[in-house]
Amino acid sequence: MLHTVNKSPFERNTLASCLGHALPDSAILLIEDGVLAAVQGTAREAEMRKALETYSVSVLGPDLLARGLSPDQVIPGIDVVDYGGFVELTENHDKVQAWL
């Protein structure tokens, strides 16, 4: 199952709620303001690194770039994908839960 998260972890509990409900074989994709959780050096980095031990985490590159963030700044282990990669994730997982 694929989970999408589109909220900044600094503003809402959306990512925390997602992490609390994702089963170990789940994939998580950070989109829109959700990409802010993928960056190194933030107060949420430890939380994301912990999540990476259990889940496969991706971040939508176009949303990073739009916010002045580069793929180089992303926490190692998080996969940077484009919209095609987003679609590919939905091909590989039988359903999608949008955490809004």
Binding site: M1, N13, S17, G20, H21, A22, L23, D94, K95, V96, Q97, A98, W99, L100
Partner: protein, 130 residues
Amino acid sequence: MSEPWEDEGPGEIKKFLYVNRKSPYGTIYALESLEVVLIAAAFEQDVSMVFMDDGVYQIKKGQDTQQIGMKNFSPTYRALEGYDVEKLYVEAESLAERGLSEDDLLVPVEVMSRDAIARLMDEQDVILSF
């Protein structure tokens, strides 16, 4: 060769889960989500609703909207049973975090742990979140 996603035959009943995570009245999501569920009931699919995070306030007893000038739609949750929508799940942790208990809710529900809700989500075919 058939693709893995093509092995579902026609006429099959799908499991639809409606995820409610937002408080009522501040935004319209709760009301319009309920409207979807009422329509969905007519399609003879397997319908479940989950209330978690601030969504638990959607079914809080004693809603009185008189002074905000908005329609109190909470009685409609009691009508769900008449539409054969009987799988209402509430997350125990979300209730506890908000100082609420099952007695505070206006409809009969099944209170489930976060882990059980996670497994419930995983069993679905379609998850609509509002």
